[in-house]
């Protein structure tokens, strides 16, 4: 293999890895905050991608300009899901863990079915936008512009999330995460923090959906393959760690690309899960996990 080919594989892995990281960020945030694994994560990503497509089709608005709109829309979704389902699921007395698994799992199946009913099973894509089908060539290595933009937005989003964690709200999030009962004593409204955490987490996912919408097709099942990787990313990086999600996302992207290049492409997931199991054996809390 030529060095340009190797660079191409590594660049491809990096660009995809950053997308994986961005998809996983919201999942990690919500889990870190309240120990709830959102099994409808992929389906919410799918909804964001449909929203991008529908707005683009109706108004011709470029996906990049839709970022704030979709983020707000998805934040609303997140808050609504927390208030309507999660808060109630958490208030049960027995088997709380099981109830929250089933409630988000059921939500996932419902959203998928509803999407198929509303949008049909056809694959759709945003075919025309500022960045569409553009590619940069740097010394024989090709960098697709939509993916590059997605990577930059991903890094900005992570920077934003880390900045938020330094604000008062961020400290309240951290405090609630550490001791959800004690924070009530110092006047933090736990329920409100949880709802805002969901809003923030799902808004981040919305940003990922916008960027994916720039180069990926949309269909009712598009979330599933990304969600699976997002769960691995969160577990690998360490539950609740944003830095962990970023590093693990890139690691998974690279391992996937390298496995596909060196071995058979059909085996690329094996590389990902092999790394995952090794990390679990050596460091069960994940690369950056604190627990």
């Amino acid at each position: 293999m030529l060095s340009a080919d190797i660079a191409q594989v590594l660049i491809g892995g990096l660009l995809m890895g950053l997308i994986y990281a961005l998809v996983a960020a919201g999942l990690s945030l919500i889990f870190g905050l309240m120990d709830v694994v959102n099994f409808a994560h992929g389906e919410l990503l799918m909804l964001a991608m449909y929203a991008v497509f529908i707005i683009w089709q109706a108004t011709g608005m470029d996906p990049l300009l839709q970022i704030p709109l979709i983020a707000v829309l998805l934040a609303g979704c997140g808050v609504a899901i927390y208030r309507g389902l999660i808060a109630r699921a958490l208030s049960v007395q027995f088997n709380r863990g099981m109830v929250q698994i089933f409630v988000t799992f059921g939500l996932a199946i419902f959203i998928r079915g509803a999407a198929q009913f509303a949008f049909g099973g056809e694959f759709r894509s945003v075919s025309k936008h500022i960045l569409a089908n553009r590619t940069l060539e740097i010394g024989g290595v090709f960098v697709p512009v939509p993916q590059l933009a997605a990577s930059i937005v991903c890094l900005l989003a992570f920077a934003g999330l880390l900045a938020i964690s330094r604000t008062e709200f961020g400290r309240a999030l951290e405090a609630t995460r550490e001791d959800r009962d004690a924070v009530a004593l110092i006047g933090i409204d736990r329920d409100r923090i949880f709802a805002m955490g969901w809003g923030l987490g799902i808004a981040t996912l919305g940003v990922a959906g916008v960027m994916l919408g720039g180069f990926y097709y949309v269909g009712p099942n598009v979330g599933a393959s990304f969600a699976l990787i997002a769960y691995v990313t969160v577990a690998l990086g360490g539950f609740g760690s944003l830095t962990g999600a970023l590093v693990a996302g890139v690691l998974i992207g690279e391992v996937e690309a390298i496995t596909a290049a060196v071995f058979e492409p059909s085996l690329k997931q094996i590389g990902v899960y092999a790394i995952y199991m090794v990390v679990l054996m050596l460091r069960p809390r994940g690369l950056f996990g604190k627990l």
Binding site: V9, L15, G120, E122, F123, F142, E256, P265, K268
Partner: protein, 414 residues
């Protein structure tokens, strides 16, 4: 007392219902397709195609010049109407098996038609074999399906060996016509039964034809990214890429190749995803020039006059034209209905004999085939495939050259 009256009434109503079903004023046929999940659109399109055929058979209309095109139900069963029952396989072989079983035991279907993916056909046809009713494979293309010694398996369309052979015959003819021969191919196939079987045949045919296999890439279906796969194709830079992929992967690989600045010389697809509207929309301009084997030629209206009225009915229902899959599905139901009609009943043995005796000339269908006649394995031996190429987002038939609607664009060797 009151409750008992109600129960009796209900029981007699049920009994009457049963009796009505036995009176053969309705012929119940089962269909197993992915109606939700990743293959859902294909399944929903299939459903529309079957309903179109049922409308042609059951309805009263001007005769359409095709098998069972006269309308008014099945004449030899006193004008009995077809009743179609659809079951959702979700593209999962185990769910397909369970649904086939349910159709047979609960809905009492006399035959099952299916099922898009070959992996689901493999399990459904085991169930139909056990219950001794026919399985009509409308659109499954794995060559291994009819070589399992099944007595109740019938495939009206070509399998991938016939398709692949046609693809290699086409490459040879294109070389003769243009003077530019394809010297190397890249195999690119998904990792289930469809892709694996397809690539096995193509590997064999390439060796026979003395064509180098520059790359042999088995990939994981529905991967989030195919960029490394595209890189491998680019490095191999074969004269012709031969992909066997479903819709989502077909869109993704065309984009992934473009993203790394690779414009393949020729893409000759084993249909499937490449024949879907979702692919033509999703890949947009990148789809232009892509060739695909197909069993259908929408533009062959001169030799197949039934295409126009049948397609109009389908379009009214589904707002699309017939494609490789939906045309085969419509034809499969026509063949089954014709066999039931000739059998004069839905009794399994009579139906089996009638299916075996099927001999329909090609011009009595909407397909560009020589006809429909099954060999002892249940494979239609008269369905010759064609090759189509995308021009401005529309597939046009380019081979065999004598039925071509457009001249093939063959960039190999330029």
């Amino acid at each position: 007392m009151k409750r008992r009256t109600l129960l009796t009434a209900a029981a007699s109503a049920l009994a009457l219902g049963n009796q009505a079903a036995w009176a053969a004023d309705e012929v119940v046929i089962g269909f197993v397709y992915p109606l939700t999940g990743n293959g859902a659109q294909v399944g929903l399109d299939a459903k529309a195609a079957f309903e179109t055929m049922a409308e042609i058979i059951n309805g009263n209309h001007a005769p359409i010049p095709m098998l069972m095109g006269q309308g008014g139900g099945l004449p030899k069963l006193g004008g009995a109407k077809l009743k179609l029952v659809f079951a959702d396989s979700q593209n999962d072989p185990q769910k397909a098996r369970a649904e086939a079983e349910r159709l047979i035991t609960q809905d009492k279907v006399c035959a099952i038609v299916g099922s898009y993916t070959s992996a689901t056909a493999a399990t459904i046809s085991q169930v139909t074999e056990r219950y001794e009713i026919p399985y009509i494979s409308a659109d499954n293309s794995s060559p291994s399906l009819n070589q399992r010694g099944l007595k109740w398996f019938f495939r009206t369309g070509p399998h991938d060996e016939m398709f692949s052979r046609a693809m290699f015959d086409f490459m040879k003819d294109a070389a003769t016509k243009t003077g530019r021969a394809a010297k190397s191919v890249a195999l690119f196939y998904e990792d289930s039964i469809f892709g694996t079987d397809s690539s096995n045949v193509q590997r064999k045919l390439a060796q026979e034809a003395g064509i180098t296999i520059a790359a042999d890439i088995r990939y994981r279906a529905n991967s989030p990214s195919l960029s490394t796969e595209a890189q491998k194709l680019k490095s191999a830079n074969a004269d012709v890429i031969l992909p066997s992929s479903y819709t989502s992967d077909a869109i993704l690989i065309m984009r992934a190749m473009a993203e790394i600045g690779y414009r393949p010389k020729a893409v000759l697809a084993q249909a499937a995803g490449f024949q879907e509207q979702g692919f033509l929309d999703g890949a947009a301009a990148l789809a232009n020039g892509v060739m695909s084997r197909t069993s259908f030629a929408l533009d062959a209206t001169k030799s197949r006059p039934a295409i126009v009225p049948a397609n109009a009915l389908y379009r009214a229902k589904n707002n699309k034209d017939f494609n490789d899959n939906t045309s085969r599905e419509l034809t499969a139901l026509a063949v089954l209905a014709d066999a039931i009609n000739r059998a004069g009943s839905t009794k399994n043995t009579a139906l089996l004999d009638a299916l075996k005796a099927t001999d329909v000339p090609g011009d009595n269908t909407i397909m560009p085939w020589a006809g429909i006649k099954f060999d002892e394995t249940g494979q239609n031996i008269k369905c010759n495939p064609v090759i189509a190429q995308v021009f401005d987002g529309v597939y046009k038939t380019v081979w065999p050259f004598n039925v071509a609607a457009a001249d093939v664009i063959w960039n190999v060797g330029t």
